[in-house]
Structure formats: C-alpha cells, structure tokens
Symmetry: C2
Subunit: 652 residues, 2 copies
C-alpha cells in the first residue's frame, strides 16, 4: 500500500484490507490500544466465566449413576473446586505483580525452575488454547443447531464462520476485541446473577424447599452408591471450570497504567464472579434437586436451562438467559485468541519460535500467532466435522499442568525473594502447587484412557519442537555471530557468467550490465540440440566482439557447453563447479535475466528456467556462487521507459 508524504495511508488507496482490519497503527499509538478492567474482563475472562456453564454440568454428568443423590454431592465438590480456584488465582495475582511483561506460567516456570519446566508449561498452555478455540466454538454452535435443527447440516460452515469472525476481530486489535465482547459477557453475568439471586431468595423463603416454576426432569433411579472413584472422576470433570484463569497473567501488557493494579483487579473480578456463580449453581442444584440429564439422549436439558426454568419459568427472561449462555460459550474461544499469540510472542523472544511471532502487526497485535491459532482450530473443526465432543477429555490436563508448574515456580521465587511476607506467600503457593498437582494426577488418571494420553504425548512433542527450533537458531547464531572489525581481503572482481540462448534485447541488457561489473565476463551457451551454435557464433563476432573492441571494453569469452543429454542445468552447474575449483578466491556471479510477467497466466508460458536456475545455483552452487537477477519488463505492462537504460552508442 502506498502512503502519503506523512507516512499515512493515502485515502485514495483505501484498500479492502483497511476496511476489514482497520487502518494500520503507528508504533507510537500503542498506548491508545491499552485497556482497563471493563474491557479486560471480556477480553481475557470469557473462557473462565463460561466455565460456570460447563464445569458443574460436567461434574453432575459423571454423578448420573447416583440418581437423585447426585445433587447432594455437588455442593462439597464445588466447595473444593472454589477453594482450589482461590489458591490458583492468588498465585496468579502474585505472578502478575512479579512478571508484569506477561507470559504467565511459562515466564514463572522458566525463570524459577529452568527452561524445561517453562517449555512444559508453555506446551501445555498451547495445546489447551488450541483445543479451547475449537471446542468452545463447536459447543456454542452445537447449542444453536440443536435449537434450530434446520441448521444442522451447516454445523461445520457455521463453526468456520464464527472462527473467521473471531480471527478478524482479534486482528483488528485489542481495543476492538474488548469492545465487541462486552455486551455478551456482561449480559451473561447479569442474567446469571439475577437468576441465582432470585433462586436463592426463593430457597431461603421456603426454608430450603422451593417449588420449581417448571418442574425439573426426574433423574433415573440410582444404579450405584457413591464410591471414591466416582467422586474422584466427578471432581476431575468439574475442574474444567477452572480453565482460562491463567489468561490474565499472559496478557498483562494490554492494560493501561497502573498496569499491574488493573490486571490484578481484572483477575479478581473474573475469579470472584466465577466463584459466586459456581457456589450459586451448587446451592440451587441442591435445593431444586437438579441433576444432569444423559447427554446426547432424548430429553437432554442442560443444568443451567433446568435452573433458569425452575427459578423463573420459560418466559422472556429464560430465553435471554439461554441466548447469553450460548453466545458466551461460543465466544469463550476468544480467550485463546487473547492468550495464544501473547504466549507465542514470549516464546519467540526467547527464540523457541520464529521471530515473526514477536513482530507486532499492522494493528499492533501479534498477527502471526492469531493466524496460526485460527488455522489449527480450523483444522480441528474440519477434521471432526464441527462436532468436537471427542476432544473434551483432552482438556484440563494442560491447564492443571500449567497451574502446577506455575505455582511451583512461585515457591522458588518467594524463596529467592525472602522476608516475612514472602514466607507467607510461599506457604500459600506451596499449598496451591500441592493441591493442583494432586488434581492434575486425578485428572490424568481418570481421563487417561479417554484421551488424556494424547494430550500428554502432544505436550511432550511440542516441548521437543520448541527445543529443536531453539537449537537451530543457536546453531545459526553460532555460525554467523562475530565480533571485531570487518575483515578485508583483496577481493579480485567476480567472474560474471551470462547464460545466453539468443542475442535478443534481454541478452543485450545482460551483457551491458555484466561488463560494468567485471572485466572477466563469460557468455555460456549450452548446446541442448534445439538451437544451432553456428547462428550465435556468427553474429557474436559481428554484433558483440567488434563494437566492444572498438569501444575499448574487454571482450567477453564465448563458452559453448556441449549437453549430450539435452539438459540445460547440469552442464552449467558442472562448469561453475570447475570454475570455482580453479579460482578458489573469486566470487562467481551468474547473471540471470528474467522476463517479468504481470499476469499470472504468463507464468505458465515463460519463466520456469530462470526460477529453477536461481534455486539450483543457490542450493547447489556453493558459497562463492552469487546470482544476479536482472528483470526485463514488457513495455505494454510497464509505465517506465526502457530507453532510460543506457543504450546510446558511445565513442570512447
């Protein structure tokens, strides 16, 4: 895109790209992109808040065999989860203060526990972010199509459209994403709050025995008694309610000053709302005797839908609430878009990913990470046809691995800091590490055969990839880094080779260029049998040698190369290798003229040989073979004038 004299995009050239993604932002505008907690909660908290919609449901689903009794166990399970949530969020609050540049678990772990621990946390989060993006969209779209069955055949396209919209919004920048997600987020919080308050009031007024407005489905009779193993599994499933809590610590730099204070406040708002919702849902499930219904079977109704109907009946409020829940489920994929690119950026700064991931794009977001996440999530959605239920057991392992590593890292951090306050924090973090570690073991053990083993393998593989990338960069740096003054040889001018077929304008331009660069020019004519040598040789002396000699230039040597197998490249490369062996101190410059085509279909008609030749010379030429690529523009397509190039006959 062209810019005017001030570097602003000139409005006459306002492109589709500008319309879709917004005008490019100057580096100095970074401050204007920063946000406060009002936008921070939607941007970084959607996943955590949406957990309220599926965490308790997941736990209750595991408790299905207990029948009516399941409602009795949801309260203690939720209590344990809320305590764990408190520990984890306390830890992340400390992390935000200690590492205000973002990065969360990865930064904490690699600073305090070493690179390997950091990479394990990073891999775990990467896997979780990608899974979350696909599963959240698929869950939200699943709820929509089950409400409007006519849309069922279009599940996958709808998923991909939602994904594309999220991608575009995030590429537009931080401020706009926070803005777009404000309405659904706060609508969800408001509806949930109203429903919970109303329900709790009814329960209290009726001394714990409220009458549901719409009676809840009667659960199937109990088929087994509560066992430790069942409760373990219910707890592991319920823990999915905690995923997404780490997002704020990854995104600290998006907050305006006072950055740490605003980030911490945002985290507390998110965790507070989540804890209240979890507690309220547990209490109302108990008093209204709400149990899960078997998913995928006839008569399925989500726990929240039952609660809304039991508390408020199926009126306008019910439907607003359900719409809010579905949109938050769908948009909770956005937490991945907020977290993943920033995590990738920190990894790229440490050279565990290519530098593109650390480059702020035209809207000052890390576009490479956003695009990669979108591509991976799209691949998952396509692979599973838009229905990602089978991916759900892969969840939570990543989050709890990151929690555990992060808290363990904070323990080491406080030990290093020392002091009385630090000791108290250390104790809390140690308790948190222990609790999340145990939870991690419970989650892995109880979900291992369902697919958690895949997550474990993926995380291990990703750690390997990160280390391989870093090794590669280290190797290149080692080869290319050098200190001290520039070493100067006495470099003789390069030998310039000009491969020629005919003496047309393109060839003449190359020859004129070559003789300005070196006195040692060799014209290579590969005899593939298609063209007659005699033709070129006759015209050579007449049209090239004589005028050059007359003008006092050194005359290029004409080198015919015989090609018994009619190949062009092999004889040329062989000649170059010979020349390189004979002249061990000189550069060999190969002049490759190229017809520049302005239409794609021209590419089919010309232009294979120069492209192939350039690639071959680069890959197989050796370190002293350089390629000089000179373009030839067809006049029709070019507004510049060829006669500007030197073509006046000169008397020396």
């Amino acid at each position: 895109m062209r810019r005017n004299a001030y570097g602003e995009p000139s409005p006459a050239r306002m492109s589709i790209r500008d319309l879709l993604f917004g005008r490019p932002l100057r580096t100095e505008e970074e401050q204007t992109q920063r946000i406060g907690p009002i936008r921070g909660v939607p941007l970084l908290g959607l996943d955590a808040l949406a957990s309220a919609a599926y965490g308790p449901e997941a736990a209750l689903t595991v408790l299905l065999p207990l029948g009516l009794l399941s409602a009795r166990y949801i309260a203690p399970l939720s209590a344990v989860i809320i305590v764990l949530l408190g520990l984890v969020s306390f830890s992340y609050r400390q992390t935000i203060a200690a590492y205000p540049n973002g990065g969360g678990s990865y930064t904490v772990a690699s600073t305090n526990l070493g690179t390997l621990a950091g990479l394990i946390a990073a891999s775990a989060l990467c896997v979780d972010f990608v899974l979350n993006a696909a599963v959240a969209i698929s869950a939200g779209v699943g709820a929509i199509v089950s409400a409007v069955p006519a849309l069922l055949p279009y599940t996958l396209p709808i998923c991909l459209v939602v994904l594309a919209m999220l991608t575009v919004v995030n590429l537009r920048g931080v401020r706009e994403s926070g803005y777009v997600f404000m309405i659904p987020t706060y609508l969800f919080v408001a509806c949930m709050g109203a429903m919970l308050a109303w329900g709790i009031a009814k329960s209290l007024a009726s001394h714990g025995h409220p009458v549901p407005v719409v009676s809840v489905p009667h659960p199937a009779p109990a088929v087994q008694a509560a066992s430790a193993w069942l409760l373990f599994r219910a707890f592991a499933s319920g823990c999915t309610a905690m995923t997404g809590v780490e997002a704020v610590s990854n995104g600290v730099p998006v907050f305006k000053a006072p950055t740490v204070r605003l980030a911490a406040r945002t985290l507390m708002l998110i965790v507070g709302a989540l804890a209240v919702m979890l507690a309220g849902i547990a209490y109302l499930s108990f008093t209204f005797h709400v149990a899960a219904t078997p998913p995928g079977a006839r008569g399925y109704e989500s726990v929240l839908s039952q609660l809304f109907a039991a508390v408020a009946g199926r009126g306008a409020f019910y439907y607003v609430g359900i719409v809010a829940i579905v949109s938050v489920l769908c948009l909770s994929a956005n937490t991945s878009f907020a977290g993943f690119p920033r995590l990738c950026r920190v990894l790229a700064l440490d050279e565990f990913l290519p530098p593109e991931f650390a480059h702020p794009g035209r809207r000052l977001v890390y576009s490479a990470g956003i695009v990669v996440l979108a591509v991976l999530a799209a691949a998952l959605l396509v692979a599973f046809g838009g229905i990602t239920d089978r991916l759900i057991p892969l969840f939570a392992v990543g989050a709890f691995l990151a929690f555990t590593v992060s808290q363990a890292g904070m323990v080491v951090h406080w030990r290093r800091v020392g002091g009385r306050r630090a000791r108290r924090s250390l104790a809390v973090n140690a308790l948190g590490a222990l609790a999340t570690g145990i939870t991690l073991v419970v989650v892995i053990v109880s979900k291992f055969v369902d697919g958690a083993w895949i997550t474990v393998l993926l995380i291990a593989a990703l750690v390997g990839v990160f280390r391989a990338i870093r090794r590669n960069y280290d190797r290149v740096d080692e080869q290319t880094d050098v200190e001290g003054p520039l070493q100067l040889g006495e470099p003789p001018p390069p030998v310039v080779l000009v491969p020629l077929k005919r003496l047309d304008r393109v060839a003449r331009k190359s020859l004129r260029l070559a003789i300005t660069m070196s006195p040692d020019v060799r014209v290579i004519h590969v005899l593939t049998g298609e063209h007659d040598m005699d033709d070129l040789r006759g015209r050579w002396s007449q049209f090239v040698e004589r005028p050059l000699r007359a003008a006092g230039f050194p005359v290029p040597t004409l080198v015919p190369l015989h090609s018994p197998y009619r190949e062009f490249f092999d004889p040329l490369l062989e000649y170059i290798h010979q020349l390189a062996a004979e002249q061990p101190r000189r550069y060999i410059a190969v002049l490759v003229p190229e017809l520049v085509e302005r239409r794609w279909y021209h590419w089919l008609l010309h232009g294979h040989r120069p492209t192939l030749l350039k690639g071959l010379l680069l890959l197989r030429g050796g370190p002293r073979v350089i390629v000089i690529n000179a373009p030839w523009y067809l006049r029709d397509d070019d507004d510049e004038d060829h006669t500007a190039s030197p073509s006046v006959r000169v008397v020396r």
Copy 2:
C-alpha cells in the same frame, strides 16, 4: 545426477529415476530408438485395432429396437464404413509421403488451408486423444471389474494404476513402448483372425446357416421398423471404429529408414487388419443372428463374446480371446500417448504451445506432452469416478473433424503439385473429404444433445487458447528481438544497496562483496522498532568505517529508514523508487544475502524475508533494479570451507 568424465551417469549414483525410466539417452542415440512396422503396429495402431471391438457393437446397440432384423443391416453399414476407412487411409498414406516430419492433419491443414484450419484440426485431435486415453482405460477396467465383481470398489484406483503404468512405459521411450504392447496386440489379431476364419468356414460349410456351439441370446422382439434416422444414428455410432487411424501420420518420425515406406506399410497393415475384422464381424453377426444386448442391463453380453462363444464354445480359446480383447481395449489408450505428445511438439515448434513440449526428454520422447496427457486423463478419470460412459458421445467428432480438414488440405496440396497422378489423388481426396464431411455432420447432428456440443465448444476454446499463446510469444518476440551491433552506453557503476539488520558474518560477507562491485554502496537499516538503531550505529563506525578507511576503500553510507508501521518492505521499496527517480541512468543493485538451508523444515524457520524481497524487487522494482543474491551456507551442512572466501586482513 552426477556424470562421470565421459558424461555417462556414474553407476554409483544410479538413481530411482534411472531404474523407473531407464538411463538417459544421448542425442546421438536417437537412431537406435527408431522402429519398424513390427513394433509400429502396437505403438500406433492399438486404438484403430481395438475399434473392431467397439465399433460394430456401438452400431448394433443403436439398432436394438429392430430386434432380430438388426443383424440384416449391420452388413451394409459395415460396408459403408469400410469404404470410408479405405478413403481415409488412402488420404493419410499420401499425407505420410508428403509430410514425413509428422503432425498429420495439423500440418496438412495449416500448410494448405491456413493456420486456423490447422489449429481446428489440432484442437480436435487433442480433445480426442485426451478423451480416448480416459475412455479406453475405463472401458478395459470396466470389463475386468464386471468379470471379477470383487474389484468393483477399486475401479478408480485400478484405472489410475493402468494410467500410471502407461505413462511410465511411454516415458521410457519409443522402442520399449512398442515392445511392451507387442504381445497383447498380436495375440488379439491372432485370436480374432482364428475366430473369424473358423466362423466363416462353418458358415460356408453350412450354406449360411451354421449352428452356434453356444446359442446366442434371443433378442427382444422388434419394436419399430428401420427408419433412415435410426440407420443414420447407427452409422454415426459405428464410425467410432475409424478413430485412431490418424495416429501413424502423427508419428512418422519414429520409423527407421526408409521412414516413409515403413510408415505407409504400418498404416496399411493396421487398416487392412481392421477392415478384415470389421467385415468378418459383420458377416458372422449376420449368419449367426447375433444382435446387441442392452448395455448395463442384466444378461448383457458383448457382441464379440457372443461370436467367440457361438463359433468356438466357452473353452480355453474363448477365455484367451476375451483376455486379449480386454487388454487391447485397455491398452488402446496408448495411441493417445503416441499421438498427443508428437502433436504438441509440432504445435510448440510453431509457438502455439510453450517450448517445453518440443524438448526431447532424457529418453528422447516428448516428456512434457506425455505428462500433460496423463494429468488430464487422470483428472477425467477422477472426475467421473473411473466410469466414463458419459464421455463416449463426445468422441468421434474430433476424429472426423480432423479427417475432413486433413483431406480438404490434401485436395489443395494436389492442386498445387499438379500433374496426372496428382489429379487422380485429388479426386480420391475430394471424395474422401466429402464423405468424411457428411459423416461429421451426421455424427454431430445425431449426437449433439448427448454431448457432442461440448466437444464443439472445447475445440473452439482450445483454438482460442492456442492463438492466445502464440500472440503472447509474438508480443514478447517483438519486444525482445533486435538486430545490429550491441549498443554501448557509458554505464556508471551500479548503486549497490545492502539491507542490514545486524553486523553478523552474513552481513559482513555482503559488505565485502558489495565494495568489490561499486564505489557507491549504501547500507539500508529499516527501523521496524524491533531492534535498536544505536547498537548498529555505534559498531558501524568502529567495525566498518574505520577499517575500510584505513584500507583505502570508499566507505558505504549508512541509511536508516524509519518505518512507522513496523513494515520492512514498503520503506525499502519507497527508497529504491526515490533513488531510481534521482539517478535515471544507473542500475540499482540490491544485495540480498540468504541463509541456504539444506533441510525442508529449516525453510519454516528462516528465509521468508529474502524470498519475499527478491520477488517484490523483481515485480515492483522497475527495469533498473537488479537483485544480487548471495548465499550463506551453514558449515555443518556444507563440505566447502568458508575460509576460502577472502577474509584475510590486508594492508594496502
């Protein structure tokens, strides 16, 4: 592939390519690749001979509504077709003698009737060749899978395997193709001859009323009387028996000396065998009361299968005959492989196709045409799932269009030649042109709605493509062709631009190279905000300016470019365009160093920026911007030594 000192492939490096396609052939070995009629018949005649298997069947199928009466009409229809065949083959025999360089209809038509007529013939043949390759394979494989129903789900893969085998055999060269197809071809001719002779003997011995060994299926009763329109359509369908006759005239140059005589003898052998088979089939259908069975319905049995069973019973001979018929049907696709690449070669020599089509490949065949044919046929097979029945009505239009144009061309040819013998030939060709022209009209009219209109459109489109390609080459030639001596300007040395980020080894190599090429070197540092300018500037004076000044070299200018939008390419291109405007007579050489990676996955980690920069400079730089591409090899992957490049400090 490396070659030894004699240019032969060294056996130590014998590659998979050599195993699959054979060792490369030297240009001088071309004579050894030439063949005689024994191999010529299988190579160029398979399609024509296989026509005997489907031509009469196609005519009889159209006659189905006549019931038992259909056998009465097949004899006169076959007689007309055989006469037409005689006329056409007489014409092609003349063509072979007059145009021994191959090209057939295209050469005849463009020489005598003008380019447009030639292109129409060429397009018609191209369409027919591609259709034939797909339909023949699909027909042969269809016969196999209907015999072995377990293979039915694998129809498409089997088709593609057969296609791949034909492609490889043809890429191996002319001699080997002729050799591979000898056994099925002569087995087919022998079986057909034996069956026909035996059947005719039986018929004669029984005074025209032989008793079939296996009784033939009784046809359905007649539902209509013979109408002119029905007979027309039967004739048009039966004419598919004549496709493939032009192949010899396209392939004349594959014959050894005396080329014309051997080619003409091959054509006569093919046409003679075909005529005998057509006549025999017609006679036996009549005496044995063989009618077609409805294709695709239960109880379907091909006419040849009925005849073999009626004459010889279902013994070993029957099965050998059927196997021969099926393999010839399948392999008749090879005629396309023999004709299409040679037609493309002639078109490429006249610049209606890219020059690659005229380049003899490593085995002295026109590999580009073979590969393109294989790709197109594979696309058709995949698009139709390996069952190409719907393509059959598209046939024959191309062949008869080519016949007509070719014969009309020969009429003009004889008029130009003059003399008594020429007048007689002229009369025959004029009659032939008339007859094939009428047949063409019949074929188009009777098959128009079934799909012949697609063929007509395709041929017209292809003519347009050929002309567009030629126009493009003409335009390029007009721009680049020039006569006279080399014009010499007094070109000042180019401005050499070196975009730099850090002063690493790669950058230092570029600097050393740049100062040998021009005294005017400018180092461009684009400030994208990722790296600190001060760092480079401080080291610049210490590590670059000072040693260069000490050694007496001109010092490059350091040009910092501010990039408010963090982009690299835009500021650089803008600077180059400014420079080009300021210095209208000088070349601007941009030095692009590039890390050469030896493993594909390295490409993911490095190397986007140089590739993009080279492309942008070439496309958008303008005619005076040239790219100098200098490779940097990582030592681990490279057996050459970097220290060979000049890096010794020198005192001047």
